[in-house]
């Protein structure tokens, strides 16, 4: 019977002897040959318009698969076929990789702590859903709005995309790195997100000019 890609993940994790290691490398190359394209798409989704970040995220994901293959659990999501199970696992690993990426990016930079940066700021008074309202979101208009340099600044794009990736709450370690990247405070992140959502709402509400 042919080996499945779940079998290959087990082989990647099993590296006790020299022979095992050779087999692990072989299985690893086969695994990436099959799922490399999906992995690159995951890296692309989290690095849009930044080729360096794309390359970094993809490299870190490859390393992460090699290091964490033993954590793959084929009993999770028993209703899914193995291909979907593997892709779900890869997507969850990409999330972990993104945290590593932000941590690595500023690991040697101790110039400003969050405490040093924190200042008195105003709190936005509206929740995200109040800003956006109940109308359907025009996906085409949103796609244009999210293009780098079109409507939002780089930091607005980064903050919005990261915030919504993590269900509205950016993890602490990523938040700290974003603050260092853009020299802003924890509270400013909320304000920037608030302003970006307002801009998007206004942009989507505008009717495009007729091409007649």
């Amino acid at each position: 019977m042919d080996k499945t890609y779940e079998d290959r993940l087990i082989e990647i994790a099993w590296r006790d002897t020299e022979k095992d290691l050779l087999q692990a490398e072989k299985s690893f190359n086969q695994f990436i040959a099959k799922y490399g394209s999906f992995c690159r798409k995951l890296a692309f989704a989290r690095s849009r318009y930044d080729p360096n970040r794309y390359e970094d995220l993809y490299r870190l994901l490859i390393l992460d698969i090699w290091e964490h293959a033993h954590q793959y659990d084929d009993t999770r999501s028993p209703d899914d076929i193995s291909d979907i199970r593997i892709k779900k696992w890869l997507s969850s690993r990409m999330k972990a990789v993104e945290r590593t990426y932000w941590k690595e990016l500023f690991k040697d930079n101790n110039t400003s702590s969050l405490e040093e940066l924190t200042a008195e700021t105003f709190e936005p008074e509206q929740e995200d859903d109040e800003i956006l309202g109940d109308d359907e979101i025009d996906i085409k208009r949103l796609k244009i709005a999210m293009v780098k340099g079109k409507l939002l600044t780089d930091r607005e794009l980064d903050i919005l995309r990261t915030s919504y990736q993590y269900k509205g709450e950016i993890p602490k370690e990523i938040k700290a790195s974003i603050c260092k990247q853009y020299l802003i405070t924890d509270n400013t992140i909320r304000v920037i997100k608030f302003r970006a959502l307002k801009k998007i709402k206004e942009f989507i509400a505008q009717k495009p000019l007729s091409t007649k």
Binding site: L63, I84, S91, Y101, F122, Q126, I137, K167
Partner: protein, 108 residues
């Protein structure tokens, strides 16, 4: 889940390929949302994944140089957010601010 989280907007961002898939349905859709031809080219070393592993964690290519702080812009941003996004302060608010300043001077 945070009460501030808006699922509708998260789904919209997913549909344009900015958010990672989580559910079975999203995994199935994801491959169609981002096609292979959208992907930027990578250096040749990526053709050999075990070579990447042997290299280990190398220095990130991303530039961690922070941007210069623009305090004026930040202050403006805070004030605008406090006014719920309105760019201009209404006459009513301006009058109230002037009155508050006069009252503060009197106290001093």
């Amino acid at each position: 889940m945070s009460s501030k989280f808006n699922n509708k907007f998260r789904t919209a961002l997913f549909k344009i390929g900015h958010i990672l898939p989580e559910t079975t349905q999203e995994i199935e859709e994801f491959d169609k949302i981002i096609s292979d031809k959208d992907l930027p080219n990578l250096p040749n070393i990526f053709d050999n994944p075990s070579q990447i592993v042997k290299q280990g964690k190398s220095i990130l290519k991303s530039n961690p140089e922070p941007l210069e702080m623009n305090q004026e812009e930040t202050n403006k941003l805070m004030a605008q957010a406090a006014r719920e996004g309105k760019k201009e302060v209404s006459q009513e608010i301006k009058d109230k601010m002037a009155k508050d300043r006069r009252d503060a001077k009197k106290k001093n």
